[in-house]
Every structure is written in structure tokens, then in C-alpha cells.
């Protein structure tokens, strides 16, 4: 009982200094947790994707289309259960800052995504309305849309202003599902475009393939691509996850920077904490000498400093973790649809605990080493 008591008493001796240090650690651990959550949110799209879905696109790049008749040919590839397709629309809602993903889809597309939960009557209403649209819950909340609202989008790839009737709002089956997407009928888009620009009709951006056996994904991808080898539009087929990770890889440089920066805050707080412990130890050299004179070992003196440092760091860390949750929620609300999935994961909390622990240990190293080495005579003289 003696050691914990002594450590707590020591820590509370300089209340202002200790509380400032704890505040510093709270800020650092919270910032660290939020940055890690941002990085995870970036990967969330890939995490939430199914391994039983493949995506086929033009081998040149996503900006090139595929012919409509590929749907039949893909269907004939062994192992393919269902085929649907979608086009990236890239429209602007009111002003350019309001970004959210919009796709023109073939109606069975939603059947490929059982994790998008729609009310049956709303789904039916969407199916029968040629200009109908489906939006995710988070997206609808962000702009205050209700079922029945009209939503105008200004096309950047497909010229003109397009007005859709919101017929259904989908919910995610769990927290990892992206609720910020906007879907409407590919048929409608195709009809209008074909009338205006005949050459741009009957073109598909991406085919989505459901396969019977996820373990056959690699073989089926190869078979699909082999079907269209040496044609005018060669294809590239990959699992949905690889497809999503491809996007993330393109912005990886920024992601790596955010990750690197999240460690910088830990180093900063390490310096602050080390300073606190150095000051604390310096003031107590006399006491340490006294303890040593009474027969306590060098290691015991070092242990006291380590315990105090780790204790302060963990208290700050715990408060920081508690603060991360409401802050992440506020952050998610403020960012709206920029990050479709945004929540603090268990790994993040574990990393935060680990970071606090490391800060506590590293900060105590030099002071503990100095205190353990202090000679009794010098230490006693310091107080005199």
C-alpha cells in the first residue's frame, strides 16, 4: 500500500503542473484518436465491401465506357449468378461543394446489395417512377430530403439539369454501410442522352457481378477479362474490395501524411511530459538521496518516478479516450457525407492506450536514470 500512496501524494504535490500535463495528454490522445479514425474512415469503403461481388470496367481507365451487350456475355461466364451495371453521374447539387456519389443504375443493382435496406413499398414506388431516385439515410438527413422531394442535379459529364423524384431512402444493415449514395434509373439517363448524343447511348461505366462462390473470384475475373480480350473495349475485373482499395491507393500520399502526423502529436506530448518529469525529479533529488540513505535501492527510486509518470499518462489517456467518442460524433455530424462511415474502432482505443503508456514510460526514462544515479552526498547537499 505504501508505494501507490507515495506515488499519488507525489503526483498531487504540484497540482497545477500535474493538471496542465494531464490536459496536454488529453488533447494529444484525443487528437491521435481522431486522426486514426479519419484514416480508418478513408478505408471504410473497402472494409464494407463484399468478396462475392466483382466489378468490371474498361481496362484503359474508369473514364472509358463498355458496351451494353457485355451484360449478356458476362452472364454466360460460369460461376456468375447475377449481373447489373451502373454509370457514374458526377452531378452538382446546388453548388460545387455539395459532393456525394451519384450513380445511374439498372434496377436489379439494389438486389446485389442486400446491406442496403429499403422499405418494400418505397422500393416499389422507385421501380415504377422513371425519374425516381433512392438516397442513403445520411445523405437525406444532410440536405433535409423527404420521400417525394424533387432533387435537381446539374450534370458535368451528362450536360443539362436533371430533376429526380426521391422515392426511397435506404438504411444500412450495420454501421459499416455507406449511407451517402444516390441512385436513379440508368434507363432514364440512357434515353435522354441517346436522344441528344446518339454516340453516347448504350454505354456502361461499370458492371457489377455477383458470383456463386467467393473462392472462385480470381478465376471468374480472369474468365470475364478473357472473353473481351483483343476487343475494342478490353475489360479489367477485380473484386469490389480491390476496386475500392484502388481508389484509396490513389490518395495514399495524403493518407500516409495524416498517419505520420498522428504520431507527431504523440512525440510532442512526450516532450511535454518528459519536461514535467524532469522538473519533478530535479526538485526531489534531496528526497531521493534521503530515501537511499535510509536503505532504499536505486531501482526503487526509479520505480517511483516511472509509476508517477505512467500514472499521470494513463489518467490523461483515459480521459482523452472518453472525450474521443463525443468529439468523433460531432466531427461526423459536421463533415456530413464527406466520410460515409465514421466511428471510433476498438483498434483505435487500443492504440490510444498504448500511446499513453509509451508516453508515460519514455518521459520517465531520463529523470529516473538521473535520480537513480544521484549520489547520496550530492543529493543531500542539494537540499541544504
Amino acid at each position: 500500500m505504501f508505494v501507490p500512496f507515495l506515488v499519488v501524494k507525489n503526483a498531487l504535490r504540484h497540482k497545477l503542473r500535474t493538471s496542465l500535463t494531464v490536459v496536454g495528454i488529453i488533447v494529444a490522445i484525443t487528437a491521435f484518436g481522431l486522426l486514426r479514425t479519419i484514416v480508418e474512415a478513408w478505408y471504410a469503403g473497402a472494409e464494407g465491401s463484399s468478396s462475392a461481388r466483382l466489378v468490371t470496367r474498361n481496362a484503359i481507365s474508369l473514364t472509358f465506357a463498355l458496351p451494353l451487350n457485355y451484360a449478356q456475355k458476362i452472364h454466360q461466364v460460369p460461376g456468375v449468378a447475377a449481373v447489373s451495371w451502373a454509370n457514374w453521374f458526377g452531378g452538382v447539387y446546388i453548388k460545387e461543394g455539395n459532393f456525394f456519389p451519384q450513380f445511374a443504375v439498372e434496377p436489379s443493382f439494389l438486389d446485389l446489395y442486400p446491406e442496403f435496406v429499403l422499405k418494400p413499398e418505397e422500393k416499389k414506388a422507385w421501380m415504377v417512377d422513371r425519374k425516381g431516385a433512392v438516397a442513403g439515410r445520411k445523405l437525406a438527413d444532410q440536405y433535409g430530403w423527404k420521400v417525394g422531394d424533387q432533387i435537381p442535379l446539374r450534370g458535368t459529364i451528362f450536360p443539362g439539369t436533371w430533376t429526380f423524384n426521391l422515392r426511397a431512402i435506404y438504411d444500412g444493415a450495420d454501421a459499416k454501410v455507406d449511407e451517402t449514395q444516390f441512385y436513379f434509373h440508368w434507363d432514364y439517363l440512357n434515353e435522354v442522352i441517346k436522344a441528344k448524343y446518339p454516340r453516347r447511348g448504350d454505354q456502361i461505366g461499370m458492371y457489377f457481378i455477383e458470383i456463386r462462390d467467393p473462392s472462385q473470384a480470381a478465376q471468374i475475373s480472369q474468365d470475364v477479362d478473357a472473353t473481351f480480350k483483343n476487343s475494342l473495349a478490353e475489360t479489367l475485373t477485380e473484386t469490389e474490395k480491390a476496386f475500392q482499395l484502388g481508389f484509396i491507393a490513389m490518395t495514399e500520399a495524403i493518407l500516409l501524411a495524416v498517419q505520420a502526423v498522428s504520431f507527431v502529436v504523440i512525440i510532442i506530448i512526450m516532450a511535454v511530459m518528459a519536461n514535467t518529469m524532469a522538473m519533478t525529479a530535479r526538485e526531489r533529488y534531496g528526497e531521493y538521496a534521503t530515501m537511499k540513505a535510509l536503505g532504499f535501492a536505486n531501482g526503487f527510486v526509479a520505480l517511483l518516478i516511472f509509476a508517477e509518470s505512467i500514472g499521470i499518462a494513463l489518467v490523461g489517456g483515459a480521459l482523452g479516450i472518453l472525450l474521443t467518442f463525443p468529439l468523433a460524433a460531432a466531427f461526423a455530424a459536421a463533415l456530413g457525407t464527406l466520410f460515409p462511415v465514421f466511428f471510433v474502432s476498438r483498434e483505435t482505443v487500443l492504440m490510444q492506450i498504448l500511446a499513453a503508456l509509451v508516453v508515460g514510460i519514455v518521459a520517465a526514462c531520463i529523470p529516473a536514470w538521473r535520480a537513480a544515479r544521484v549520489r547520496i552526498v550530492d543529493g543531500l547537499r542539494a537540499t541544504a
Binding site: 497545477l16 503542473r17 496542465l20 500535463t21 490536459v23 496536454g24 488533447v27 494529444a28 487528437a31 486522426l35 481496362a59 484503359i60 481507365s61 474508369l62 473514364t63 472509358f64 458526377g90 460545387e96 446539374r154 450534370g155 458535368t156 459529364i157 450536360p159 454516340r199 483483343n230 475494342l232 478490353e234 479489367l236 484502388g246 491507393a249 490513389m250 490518395t251 495514399e252 500520399a253 495524403i254 501524411a257 495524416v258 502526423v261 507527431v264 502529436v265 512525440i267 510532442i268 506530448i269 516532450a271 511535454v272 518528459a274 519536461n275 514535467t276 524532469a278 522538473m279 530535479r282 531520463i366
Partner: protein
């Protein structure tokens, strides 16, 4: 009012080296993050602004924000070409370049991960309109062949894009016969080939953009109105400088907002570090403060002295952080620009504004951290301070 000498203030910082080192080190890291992020945003903006020339006009389809999304058919391009305001080159031909621009997926040289690279169909006029482009290895492509030249960043960063290598896309093998350097512009992140060859192999019938030089740069507004009001055209015209500057907007805003937010949060940690140090500095010198006051130095002089010490601490950290950040200028970064969906390489650029902002930021940290401790020092009563020994 007599001031306490600066030497006294500065010497206090050297009295406890470890503490000074740790506190200034924390601040240096914050300033380093602050400066590098701003340098990154500045580098991106500078690259894209330098890409355009103010005398050139870029024409794309109305509503499309980038060349890749745009389409300009031959008929519309011919109408634009017939405008009388287009400058003529040495050979008497009009300086207008009608270019197809597409994105292709290429694997990065080091990681093998694919990214989108811009392929531009270049024309002789286009080369004349962009005098900053110089061939640094090999030679220019021959018109009418499957030869291409790669920008400096692409040649080094992507597989198959270096001199002598071949790339396969659109059912053809394309040989890289040259590498070009376009200074600090976005063209370094592009691949150029013959416009007609590219149109044919990608089965395109329309160009992506038309770019021309104005005979009289002052006539821009009139030309813009003429193009945009022509009922036969669904096009919009922008100065080339503005066209590229607009493309850097979202990414550079994103980088600087994120960076500044992060730095401000981090600075709380560093400010607390400074506060702890300064409180300790005040506490350990209570006696000295009493002596100074007894000697006749005013409360204000004490306040200034301790604030000066904190500011000096902040400035030291700021300078160290800034020197560290300055070294980052040797590096460049390559990432996807969300607006164009294409890869762009840019370097960290240190501008005078960033130097000033970073130093101001470090002084603010020192001031905020030092104010409360300095106020405590100034409020001490002479008798109490002298007795504190």
C-alpha cells in the same frame, strides 16, 4: 520605465538545458507540421497556376469542370478556330491546339498500385503555346506514329514510362521516345502523343478541349462572351491560368484546412509545455523577482521580462521547426487530385508568407503559454517574494 536587460532573459533559457530543449522541441514539431502542410498546399497551387499562361484561353464543354469530362466536337472546334482574335504563329497558322485528353490506368513504379495518368494529344500549335516544355532525354514524338513522350514525374514514377520503354493501351504498343521537363507545372504529370493518333486509337470523335492564344490579351472578355453566346456552341471559355488554378482549389483547401486544424490542436500541447516551463521558471526565481522589484524594476518590467522569455522560447522552437520544414523542399509528393481524378506531382514550396505565418504562430504559442506565468510573477508582493527563500 527601465527594462530588464535582454541578456538576463536569454540566460534563463540556458540555465536548464533539458527543459528548454524539450519545450522548444515540442514547439518546433508543431511549427514543422504547420509549415510543411502550408508548403504542400502552396506547392500544389503554384504548380497548377504556373501550368497556365494568362494569354491563353481554354475552351471546354459548358458545365464540365475538367478536360477529361469535357468534349468539343470537330464542328464546334472549327467555329472556335474561325474567331478573328486568335494569334497567328511564325508560319502564319492560327495558334490553336485542339486536344484529346484521356485518363489511363498505370501501375506506379515502386508499389505497382495503379493510378490515373493524363494522356494528352499534342499538336505543333500546342507545343508552341507551351514554351516551358523542353525535351530533356531522347527526342519529341514523330507525328503520325505510335510514339509518345512522358513528363518528368511520370517517367520516373510509373512502370513502362521511362525512355525506351513501351506502354500498352488502346490495343497498341506505344514507345516512349522522349522525356520532357515542363518546369514546375502540371504537364510534368502527363504523357503526350500525336493528337490524331490518339483520337483514332481511343475511338474518339471529339476533342476534349481547344486552347488558343489571344492576339490581344485585353480582348478576353469580348472573346469569352462571343463563344458563350454563340447558339451553335455548348462551350465555355476560361483564361488558362484560371482554368488550372480552379483545379487546385479543392485539394489545396483540403490540405491547408486539415493541416491548420491539426496544427492548432497540436499547439495546445506545446502551449501547455511552455506554461509548465514558465511556471517552473517563475517559481524557481521567486527570490530574484523580489530582488528585482526591490531594486526598483516595475511590475510591468517583470511581466515583459517573463513574456520575453516565453516569446524567445517560442521563437527558438519556431526557427528550428522552420529550418526542418525548409529541408522538405527537396521532396515532392505525387497524389490524385480529386477534381481532375488524375495524378499530379508537386513539391513542398516555402514562400515568404509561410515563413512569416510560422514565426507568428510560434510567437503566439510562446505568448499564450507565457502570459499567465508572467502575470503571476508580476503580481508578487516584494516582501513575500523575498521571504520565499
Amino acid at each position: 520605465m527601465t527594462n530588464i536587460p535582454l541578456a538576463y532573459i536569454a540566460r534563463n533559457l540556458t540555465a536548464r538545458k533539458l527543459t528548454t530543449l524539450l519545450t522548444a522541441g515540442g514547439m518546433a514539431l508543431v511549427v514543422y507540421v504547420f509549415a510543411t502542410v502550408l508548403m504542400l498546399a502552396a506547392g500544389l497551387t503554384e504548380t497548377l497556376v504556373a501550368t497556365g499562361s494568362p494569354d491563353n484561353v481554354m475552351v471546354i464543354r459548358r458545365g464540365s469542370q475538367t478536360e477529361v469530362q469535357s468534349g468539343v466536337d470537330r464542328q464546334s472546334a472549327a467555329i472556335v478556330e474561325s474567331l478573328p482574335d486568335i494569334a497567328t504563329g511564325a508560319d502564319g497558322k492560327k495558334l490553336i491546339s485542339k486536344e484529346p485528353v484521356v485518363l489511363i490506368n498505370l501501375p506506379k513504379r515502386d508499389s505497382g498500385k495503379p493510378s490515373n495518368v493524363v494522356i494528352r494529344g499534342a499538336t505543333p500549335a500546342g507545343l508552341e503555346l507551351r514554351p516551358q516544355v523542353r525535351i530533356v532525354q531522347g527526342r519529341m514524338f514523330q507525328p503520325g506514329t505510335s510514339e509518345i513522350v512522358a513528363g518528368k514525374s511520370i517517367a520516373g514514377g510509373f512502370r513502362g514510362a521511362a525512355l525506351g520503354e513501351t506502354l500498352r493501351f488502346a490495343q497498341r504498343d506505344w514507345t516512349v521516345v522522349g522525356v520532357f521537363d515542363a518546369g514546375r507545372t502540371g504537364f510534368n504529370s502527363e504523357i503526350w502523343g500525336d493528337a490524331e493518333q490518339l483520337l483514332q486509337s481511343f475511338r474518339r470523335v471529339s476533342f476534349s478541349s481547344a486552347m488558343f492564344k489571344l492576339a490581344d490579351p485585353g480582348r478576353f472578355d469580348a472573346v469569352k462572351a462571343e463563344i458563350e453566346n454563340d447558339p451553335r456552341l455548348q462551350l465555355e471559355a476560361k483564361r488558362e491560368t484560371k482554368f488550372y488554378a480552379d483545379q487546385s482549389e479543392a485539394l489545396s483547401k483540403f490540405i491547408s484546412y486539415l493541416g491548420v486544424t491539426i496544427s492548432v490542436i497540436f499547439s495546445i500541447g506545446a502551449i501547455i509545455g511552455a506554461m509548465i516551463t514558465m511556471y517552473a521558471s517563475v517559481a524557481s526565481r521567486t527570490n530574484e523577482i523580489g530582488t528585482l522589484r526591490a531594486l526598483g524594476f516595475s511590475r510591468a518590467a517583470i511581466l515583459v521580462a517573463f513574456l520575453g522569455e516565453a516569446l524567445l522560447l517560442g521563437l527558438t522552437g519556431g526557427l528550428v521547426g522552420l529550418v526542418g520544414a525548409a529541408f522538405m523542399q527537396a521532396f515532392s509528393i505525387s497524389t490524385m487530385n480529386f477534381q481532375t481524378f488524375a495524378e499530379i506531382a508537386f513539391s513542398f514550396t516555402l514562400t515568404p508568407d509561410i515563413v512569416l505565418a510560422s514565426l507568428a504562430f510560434s510567437l503566439i504559442m510562446g505568448f499564450v503559454g507565457g502570459f499567465l506565468p508572467a502575470a503571476r510573477a508580476a503580481r508578487m508582493k516584494i516582501v513575500d517574494a523575498l521571504r520565499a527563500a
